[in-house]
């Protein structure tokens, strides 16, 4: 069924009798050419592009819970391609370009909204660093602008310009950055994949991997063994757990990241803003809630919930930057498990097991990467060679000293 305004009107006038399930609930088959483990944004996108762009079939996505129930369903919905390093920027720019055509591509309104993102500047050294970054972005074909203090003031005159501990000195802006309705991304890919014949199998947790003679034969699950020609794992915070079934230790730690939403408010802030002098970034959803976040809690965790100090820390950042939000109320906090890698950048690579592929280490930047991650992982799965924008995302970069460390923090996952 194709969605359109006309279809909505016709259905409305005929009692909404014609709507169909957005996806089937098939029972798992005995064998697939491709089994994608993880029904989050990345896994669903991978299956979608495998079928659509790489013309593969006999594909299943298996998900331990419900589709889109992981980090794609609990994040701050930001898209951008304002990365610095050669290993990253082409990939994220590819992703942003995919976002720009996504809704028409998968016929689902994910509310891709390019209302712009600014990273505030508070010191001269930060301006130097953002100038370097902005130039790298443009060299990579992305858009970037450097704003001075007055340009920022013109955009958001109610920011704390006059009584700030860390004065605002300008901003790096990417106008093509913005937000996307996160759940709709998962559902759009799921629906698109389902329409292309992909089996989406929910409530199906991987409990083991069958590997013989160095080759993967399939996965053991709570719904029985599922044979596979190739297994692609895209399970974010559960990466270490799943890959341990293949005997692997990863350059990844799982950490909890909290995010927050306020009560619904009339339009207050249009675009996305990050405040580096505090740990705070914010946007406003189309529904009116301020959506904001800050640092990870900082300790290994699979608990999907966080603690009070980070909530306070984030609110402090918010109040320092926007003193007029004091009377807005925080409505809800949530916590997702981030696959924090050792250099803050992801891995999309083959493993030492023939037929087993891995996609993870997204830290807390995985949402914006969803389309490109899916595309590049599908590319790797279908063709056995990395996509040109993802060729740096290899396991062996740590052994070879080719880290992609945007923050320059080294092998300390909780600082990325």
């Amino acid at each position: 069924m194709r969605y359109s305004g006309l279809r909505v009107i016709v259905e409305a006038l005929t009692g909404h009798r014609g709507w169909k399930p957005v996806w089937r609930d098939p029972a798992p088959q005995a064998h697939y050419d491709y089994v994608i483990v993880g029904g989050g944004g990345h896994g669903l996108a991978t299956a979608y592009y495998l079928a659509r762009e790489f013309s593969q079939s006999r594909i299943a996505v298996i998900e331990k819970g419900y589709l889109g129930g992981g980090n794609v369903g609990r994040n701050t919905t930001i898209i951008r391609s304002n990365y610095l390093l050669d290993g990253n920027e082409p990939f994220y720019e590819f992703s942003l370009k995919l976002w720009e055509g996504l809704e028409q591509d998968f016929n689902y309104n994910a509310m891709v909204s390019q209302r712009g993102i600014i990273n505030l500047i508070h010191t001269d050294a930060q301006r130097d660093a953002f100038t370097r970054r902005g130039n790298a972005m443009i060299l990579n074909g992305a858009d970037a602008e450097l704003l001075d203090r007055e340009q920022v003031r013109a955009m958001y005159p109610w920011l704390n310009f006059d009584n700030a501990r860390f004065p605002i000195k300008g901003a790096l802006m990417q106008r093509r950055g913005g937000t996307v309705r996160h759940d709709a991304v998962a559902w759009g890919y799921a629906r698109g994949a389902d329409l292309l014949g992909v089996d989406l199998i929910q409530n199906c947790e991987v409990t083991g991997m069958r590997i013989e003679n160095g080759k993967v034969l399939g996965v053991e699950t709570t719904r029985g063994f599922i044979g596979a020609g190739k297994v692609g794992v895209a399970v974010a915070g559960s990466s270490s757990k799943v890959m341990a079934h293949a005997g692997m230790r990863l350059p990844i730690e799982s950490h909890v990241l909290q995010a927050f939403v306020s009560e619904g408010l009339k339009p207050f802030i249009d675009g996305v803003m990050t405040f580096g002098a505090g740990h705070f970034y914010v946007s406003q959803s189309d529904k009116g809630g301020l959506v904001f976040g800050g640092d990870i809690d900082g300790y290994n965790s699979y608990a999907q919930r966080g603690n009070l100090p980070v909530i306070e820390d984030v609110a402090e950042g918010g109040m320092a930057l926007m003193p007029s939000i004091g009377r807005a109320r925080l409505l809800r906090t949530w916590g997702g498990i981030m696959d924090m890698s050792m250099d803050g950048s992801p891995i999309i690579d083959k493993t030492h097991v023939d037929g087993l592929y891995f996609n993870g280490g997204w830290c807390y930047g995985g949402f914006k990467a969803t389309p490109a991650s899916g595309w590049c992982f599908a590319h790797l799965l279908a063709r056995d060679e990395p996509h040109v924008t993802a060729k740096a995302y290899r396991f062996d970069r740590f052994l070879k000293g080719l880290m992609i460390d945007e923050k320059g923090q080294g092998a300390t996952p909780n600082l990325h």
Binding site: W19, A303, S324, G326
Partner: protein, 982 residues
Amino acid sequence: MSQKNRISGGQIDRSKVLTFTFDGKTYSGHPGDTLASALLANGVRLMGRSFKYHRPRGPISAGSEEPNALVQLRSGARQEPNTRATVAELFDGLDATSQNRWPSLAFDALAINDRLNTFFTAGFYYKTFMWPASFWEKVYEPIIRRAAGLGSLTREEDPDEYDKGFLHCDLLVIGAGPAGLMAALAAGRAGARVILADEDFRFGGRLNAETLSVGGRTGAEWADSVIAELAALPNVRLMLRTTVIGAFDHGIYGAVERVSDHLAVPLEGKPRQTLWRIYSKRALLAGGATERPIAFENNDRPGIMMAGALRTYANRFGVTVGERVAVFTNNEDGLQTARDLVEKGVDVVAVIDARPDGPLLPGIRHLKGAEVVDAAGRLGLKSITIRQANGRTETVEVSALGVSGGWNPNVNISSHHRSKPVWSEALQAFVPGEGGPQGLSAAGAAAGQMSTHAALEGGQKAAIAALAELGISAKADTVPEAEDRPLSITPKWYVNAGKGRAWIDPQNDVTVKDIKLAHKENFTSVEHMKRYTTLGMATDQGKTGNVLGLAIMAGLTGQTIPETGTTIYRPPYTPVAMGTLAGRSRGKEFKPFRLTPSHKWAEEQGAVFVEVGMWLRTQWLPKPGEKHWRESVDREVLATRKSVGICDVTTLGKIDIQGTDAGAFLDKVYCNTFSTLAVGRCRYGLMLREDGMVFDDGTTARMGENEYVMTTTTANAVTVFRHLEYCRQVLWPDMDVQLISTTEAWAQFSVAGPNARKLLEKIVDQDISDSAFPYMAAGNITIGGLRARLFRISFSGELAYEIAVPTRYGDALIRRLVEEGKAFDAVVYGTEALGVMRVEKGHVAGNELNGQSTALNMGLGKMVSKMKDSIGMVLSQREGMNQPDGYRLVGVKPVDPAATLTAGSHFLEKDAKPVIENDGGWLTSKVYSPHLGCDIALGYLKAGDQKIGRRMRAVNLLAKTETEVEIVSPHFFDPEGERLRG
């Protein structure tokens, strides 16, 4: 307007009259009222509009679960959006306005959405607005955004203060209803440290809303007596207006005390609200239960509310919501509303009881097996349509309807650690399950103990059990007599009749139809249903509607309710003001200031300061007449290079390292060698991370055989110290080495320039001639007998020293140096001049020490000794970090001396296109060198060491500028270092 719906009784102070306004109209009420109760007393049922359809709405509750009656409270900078009128305490002069409507509450243009509701079904927006692509940002979204949201925020700074506090207790009791009061009493009498917190402004919980007796008194009187006893116990802290917002790890609870929200403005020196972090050994959830509705067509009319709320308004506030009232219930508790209202003289026209049998209420029209199928009255309920058991329908005029679909125990906090609540068939509700926060138990209605007696008994038992785990024995006193009737509920989730809409989540306008659509489209998992329909995502987080929604979904899928499960309960229990969470950390107090020892002196001179991490450092010191910062900075640089300059360098990290293994320890943490350093000498040290990247640099001096003084960069002072402790304790635990951070113990000044020695000679007691104190010497000296340290080190490239005195003498030393320096036209220079001189000398600093650079990148590769094991030595040898065409530190000069450079510009070859394949690197730091009379810069250039002398372009694509530059050695000034040895 008179309070036409005010009836007798209630816990309000009728001797005082408070006046207030709502949407500009003046009303009166009494102390003890909420805004909602006072408005209802005045006959106002319409208080808000719903989010999507802009339906007219009145309160459905008398508590914090309220989804409808949200108002903008106060005005000006204190305007707060989305305040629940049902919990806003009335004060004299309160002003409130309705929100999410235009032009007025009674007439709202966007109510057109309601007419178009058949288009605006759950998730309709995912299926349209896609063409043309650019229209989303340009057309559709702006319209949606303007229409969305509830109340509005001012753009003014919140004028109120907020505070934070920390409390400790043996037992935290959450909720002061019958269970909580009995628990606090048992624990308080046993001498335990107790905190009793309640979100209300009266202790007693439901007892305040009921007419039932406890121990022969009214519930409220009994609660008062308990509170009086608890108040007299020094080990009990009573916290009124305090909402426990969440359970965190290890017995830590967050709580918000609304200190001043019941006042027009906070009292002088008092915060508006306080965020408490409560450290409890044990906690008891006694937060009661929340009544839930039964969905039927047009069940959102103003005047339709929870049966229990109707009773609360009558019993506690002396208010009837209407003159003619009906009750629709599926359980025994709903009947109590009818009884109480009749008792108060209110006309109860019918009790519509969904249960087919059981005894009838005497003297009231009590319809068994009946249901309400519709309601009329757009701006306020006028009538309901009843369908009796025999199928006959009739329309009855009423102005208020109380609905009870049962009670949901407030399990939220018990599920904050993601444990699943369990389903109780008897209660038709979820009760706390296993695996909740450690040390937390539940009692009273929160635990499914629904009668007053059960709550009293349960509270006492739970407290005794919790204290027993702590080794405190509390005794079981007689539980006061109270009602103990069963709830006797028959499940009834929605009334299946007609084609109209029946609301489940009133604020977000989620109706039974939306649930059915979600089911049809296979959004059947409870999380999918929530996300697709937005059920439970409103400001009440589904406190009244969620169970209804999932029960209806369960009915559609054929699963049981427990199989369907709940969504996740997350903090906060009720929404919390951002200001409260931030406390005092805002404005200039966002982070503390660290001030240098010369700060006061510099302030007197009119210095310009700059934030450097937490530090405030002198950036430059303008002289009278200097209009541009460059004038000051150029002068400071030139004067230093010409004669002598003084700079406060206290912010550099200083670490004393002592012990017989101190030298060996430094050999481990620095990539170069320090054990061979002679006593009384300094050496530049380079510290790597274990991954081989440069971590930090600085000068370390050997002050004695087993005593070193390390300096770090300002930025890394804390992390280097942490790292050294790690190396000492974790990696080499048997090394005899001790560390102490002395960054704040010593005030340290750089004295640099050709006349540096002459200036210092006037101050220090020792011989510091070049032979006695050569380049890179270090030692303990005295200044007029006062102990001090002197290091002959130079960042500026001049003959230079750093002199340190105990911090308390720092102010005196700067004044002395300035005074003695007059003879040499000495200047004091700030961080800008410091930066200029270090770039002239090609020293790396923050912009080059970016955590992404190797020693090789910096031109310091040879410093990494392979003869010894040091942190980072092995991994610095990885191939990717040793590529011959990797980045190397270079100097950059514009070919045209008048041209300007910009840090962050990228290197491109002469005719290269601006694409990433041609990217040569970037300019890290740029300054204007008054010495050279042009801009100069440092940069990381690919294979830069092989490109000295080459001409390239420094391109700043952000500003669309570029400058032709010459790649030079980074040592612009005195490359042989003759001056610093002078």
